[in-house]
């Protein structure tokens, strides 16, 4: 019972702080909107999508990828707050509490995941209102399932990095080595069907590609890997990341 209360406490803190830092919410939306509006319109004006995607706007085509990007950037940086807590004694206050490290970790994942769900919900509404994305009950539910799996994975990864690093600069360096490859190699911005084989190898090794593919399948009805494969890979990715994150938390020294 007290572990559950602790879980709730950690979530409560993260979510309250998220709601109070308005700038964080706004800035989390600026980047995806720039990609959709400027990049999407700009590049969309001079390219025509072929194959299964023909007939779709480029903006619509990258919409699922932009959702994944929002998760990537938002959730990985969530790990940075651990480092901020380390700089003062807030983390000690949490670690000296009679809670297991596993509980503390899951509290953080829940907190970060909730932040992500709020951001994604805003983008889904904007997508339906301004970017011509048609959602059905099925596609909405599936979108949240897929996004949740990705959120858990990426938040765990960010927390694991945060647990072993002690400076924000170091965190920034490591995470940009993680974020950009994961994003550019995910097929968020291009179809994966006509890629040269060397690039296709990298894309298919990137777990985020399967989230993009799954979202494209449920939202736009086009996909390459098959939804079953996508979900399998995403579940596996989430489990591995959670295990790594839990272990990193257990070893975290203060």
């Amino acid at each position: 019972m007290s572990e559950l209360n602790g879980l709730y406490a950690l979530w409560y803190r993260e979510f309250k702080v998220f709601l109070r830092e308005r700038s964080r919410i706004v800035s989390s939306l600026v980047q995806p909107l720039m990609w959709l509006v400027i990049f999407g319109t700009g590049l969309g004006a001079s390219i025509e999508l072929g194959g299964a995607a023909s007939g779709l706007d480029y903006q619509q085509f990258i919409f699922p990828g932009i959702l994944c990007m929002t998760v990537l950037f938002g959730s990985l940086f969530f790990g940075l707050y651990i480092i901020m807590d380390k700089r003062v004694d807030f983390l000690k206050e949490v670690l000296v509490a009679p809670l297991t490290r596993t509980t503390i970790f899951f509290g953080k994942v829940l907190g970060g995941g909730t932040d992500g769900i709020v951001q994604i919900t805003m983008l889904v509404i904007l997508g339906a209102a301004f970017f011509g994305i048609h959602f059905t009950l099925y596609s909405i539910v599936m979108t949240y399932v897929i996004i949740s799996l990705l959120l858990v994975s990426i938040t765990s990864l960010g927390l694991a990095i945060g647990a072993v690093m002690s400076s924000p600069e170091g965190f920034g360096l490591i995470s940009s080595f993680v974020i950009f490859p994961l994003f550019f190699l995910s097929g968020a911005l291009f179809p994966v069907s006509n890629l040269p084989s060397w690039l296709y190898v990298f894309v298919s090794l990137n777990p985020v590609s399967y989230a993009v593919d799954a979202l494209r399948t449920v939202i736009l009805g086009i996909g390459s890997f098959g939804l079953g494969t996508d979900l399998l890979v995403l579940v596996g990715f989430a489990i591995i990341m959670v295990l790594i994150g839990t272990e990193a938390f257990k070893r975290m020294q203060i």
């Binding site: 406490a9 409560y12 309250k16 009679p98």
Partner: protein
């Protein structure tokens, strides 16, 4: 009954032994001070007792539980007020208390009542709904004191509770700490390097240097141990040899034309000292302070370690990466 007991408690970091073979017994209900110069091992000792870092050697029992093997039980028995800020600035005082209550397993039905109670104890009832950002350093400390008590621990650790606060706020805070001890009957372990603070608050103090206890007693007995009053004389060409023969004089120090003596029952013997020592230009006689005791045991050289241990440990950790 000893509520805290350590036996040869030792903590080694890579190159440095921060705490070596520490043996302590702290009794229920007392305010116990750990004094020591910067980097003496105070914070490390506290961190081990609070199960934040494991001992390298020896053992410690807190409320009867072993810190290495029964960490969870130990954590239920203790409250900790950290040296650095440990509350969330974006949350209100009350919200920070609420978080703590949940994490420490306070019964849901009692949470509101207990929060009201501790807020009243530290006079923060009126400011409880303000975000901590707006709190002054003293208010923040008070809230963190209150928070440490929320789950009714038997033992409260205070790590440099008044570091960086102005004198008025410090005295104010001492009042609260005394109040906690008498009203809540909680055993308090406090680290500090402010001697007046220790003198004012503590029932017993241990002076720690280089990771070892060099003296342990009540403040008044420690002062008595120095063997009398401190007498400061300004004398040109003092006859130190003659004074040294007097059996009631101890600890003679000569520096810059001043002679400092510890004299047993100074009032009675001052005349005789004047006669022997030479031409006295001025005299000052006072009872010893804990500061004199501290300098006596730890020497008076300046320590180069800069900040307090916590900072040092943090550097150790970044070095470990």
């Amino acid at each position: 009954m000893a509520l805290i007991e350590t036996h040869n408690l030792t903590k080694r970091f890579e190159k440095l032994t921060a705490v070596r073979k520490l043996n302590l017994k702290i009794n229920e209900g007392e305010i116990f001070g750990l004094l020591g110069p910067n980097g003496a091992g105070k914070t490390t000792t506290l961190s081990m007792l609070a199960t934040l870092i494991p001992p390298t050697d020896g053992w410690a029992k807190v409320n009867g539980f072993d810190v290495a093997k029964q960490a969870s039980q130990v954590r239920h028995s203790i409250g900790f007020v950290f040296q650095d800020p440990s509350s969330d600035d974006l949350l209100t005082g009350r919200e920070n208390l609420y978080l703590h209550a949940l994490m420490y397993g306070v019964d849901m039905r009692d949470i509101n009542k207990k929060m009201d109670e501790v807020l009243k104890l530290v006079d923060l009832t009126e400011r409880q709904h303000e975000r901590m950002k707006k709190y002054s350093g003293g208010m923040r400390r008070r809230l963190e004191l209150a928070r440490g008590l929320l789950h009714e621990p038997k033992i409260l650790f205070l790590d440099e509770p008044t570091l960086g606060l102005d004198p008025q706020t410090r005295e104010h805070l001492w009042k609260y700490i005394k109040k906690l001890s008498t009203e809540k009957k909680v055993t308090i372990i406090i680290t500090t390097h402010y001697m007046e603070e220790a003198d004012m608050l503590c029932d017993r103090v241990a002076i720690i240097d280089h990771g070892k206890v060099v003296a342990l007693d009540t403040p008044s007995d420690l002062k008595k141990r120095l063997g009398g009053d401190v007498v400061n004389l300004k004398v040109r060409n003092p006859n130190v040899v003659a004074v040294r023969k007097l059996r009631y004089v101890k600890n003679i120090k000569v520096a810059d034309g001043f002679v400092t003596l510890t004299v047993n029952d100074a009032g009675r013997h001052l005349q005789e000292i004047f006669k022997k020592i030479g031409n006295v230009e001025s005299v000052e006689s006072r009872s010893p302070t804990l500061n004199d005791v501290f300098l006596h045991y730890t020497g008076s050289e300046i320590r180069e370690s800069g900040e307090e241990g916590g900072h040092f440990e943090r550097m150790m950790h970044s070095g470990n990466r």
